[in-house]
């Protein structure tokens, strides 16, 4: 049998890619970036396998110290590309950053599912859906916020984006560490606890913007 991860990748990406041809403007952009997130996830899964073998198969060390760095950097690159080439408008960059994070998390869930198919349960799926997926989305959105300054304030962009990237890496590392420890329930709630304030801020931001108009 061929590599199951690639089979699932083709099964998911092909219909989504065909659907993007039918979509227009913003919808196409969002689905497109979700696809990029999936592609990035496939790339990172291969990269992490190499890094795991380089680190002597120490899964705990790799997942708490190495993968947060590789994943956050690779996830930020497509968002950075969009901000540099197309638009650095926050209203455009933030949704695509979120879409990249969600696409990434969706495919990562599938990779983990394939690797642990005998041990997965509905509870596992709920946790992966609410915790891991949100964590990836939150991290990419945080970096995306810094990327929005790419053309406006260059001095802030270089330092700010890198600093936000480091924050995202640490957050990711803390999450990975918690979910593999005795405090795993704390880890499961961490992304939701971070997501809710972001959501409230997001609604307030749009409400203020609407009232100004």
């Amino acid at each position: 049998m061929d590599n199951l991860v690639y089979i699932i990748f083709i099964c998911h990406v092909t219909p989504l890619a065909l659907m993007t041809l039918m979509l227009r403007k913003r919808s196409r952009l969002l689905v497109g970036y979700m696809l990029i997130g999936i592609f990035v996830s496939l790339f990172v899964s291969e990269l992490n396998t190499i890094l795991l073998s380089q680190c002597g198969g120490d899964m705990l060390y790799v997942s708490t110290t190495v993968t947060p760095v590789t994943e956050e950097i690779v996830k930020a690159l497509p968002v950075l590309f969009y901000a540099v080439v197309f638009s650095n408008d926050r209203d455009r960059v933030m949704p695509i950053a979120f879409a990249t994070g969600v696409g990434f998390a969706m495919f990562e869930n599938m990779v983990v599912l394939v690797q642990n198919v005998e041990n997965v349960t509905i509870g596992w799926a709920i946790i992966r859906g609410f915790a891991t997926a949100l964590m990836h989305a939150v991290c990419t959105v945080a970096v995306g916020y810094g990327i929005c300054f790419v053309k406006k304030k260059k001095k802030l962009f270089y330092c700010g984006t890198f600093a936000l990237l480091t924050m995202a890496m640490i957050y990711h590392g803390i999450f990975n560490m918690l979910v593999q420890s005795d405090y795993k329930y704390l880890g499961f709630f961490l992304p939701a606890l971070t997501y809710i304030p972001i959501l409230i801020w997001h609604f307030k931001y749009y409400k203020t913007k609407k009232s100004r108009l």
Partner: protein
């Protein structure tokens, strides 16, 4: 920016606390908590270089001596690194991580020292933020001190420096807020 710098310090420390609570070792090899220090130094550098410096320094030759004197801070950081980290038997990963931190300490400390000694020409921001710059400069050297005590394996030193870093960061927030308020009045 300054709030985010403090946030980075808190995040880095949180990572180290979680690592210790989950049975990990904090000082053996590279760990992500270092990124908290780097992030904070970057935010501090960004605040001074990106926002404050253009208001104070017009790049004229008149102020060249202040620019040259300010180089003392990065040079001191580099010397500390070479003596206390490079020439020790620490693991290579720790030496590389410390070198990375030293680079960011060098760039941030340069601007903090510069804005501490720079004459306040017309806009008044430098005078209002002197306390902030002094505390931020102390913070950058506390980061170096932490590397040194880790290199020496001095646990009491690590604890003392950790407490000092926390206290200085609180001071940084307060002094920056007061300074900005004073400047805008």
């Amino acid at each position: 920016m300054i709030t985010l710098a403090v946030g980075c310090v808190a995040f880095g420390r949180l990572y180290q606390v979680v690592r210790l609570l989950t049975g990990g070792d904090m000082f053996n090899g590279f760990q992500l908590g270092v990124f908290g220090v780097i992030g904070s130094l970057l935010f501090l550098f960004s605040a001074n270089f990106g926002a404050m410096d253009s208001l104070a320094d017009d790049r004229s030759r008149e102020f060249i001596k202040y620019r040259l004197i300010s180089l003392a801070a990065p040079v001191a950081a580099l010397v500390l690194y070479i003596i206390f980290v490079w020439f020790t038997d620490l693991p290579r990963s720790v030496k590389i991580a410390s070198a990375l931190v030293t680079v960011f300490v060098m760039q941030a400390s340069y601007f903090h020292l510069k804005h501490l000694i720079f004459p306040d020409v017309d806009l008044g921001i430098i005078k209002c933020l002197r306390w902030y710059n002094l505390l931020a400069l102390i913070y950058t050297f506390l980061c170096m001190a932490e590397m040194v005590v880790i290199g020496l394996g001095n646990e009491t030193g690590i604890l003392i420096v950790g407490v000092l870093i926390g206290s200085v960061m609180i001071g940084v927030i307060i002094s920056a807020e007061r300074g900005i308020k004073k400047w805008t009045i």
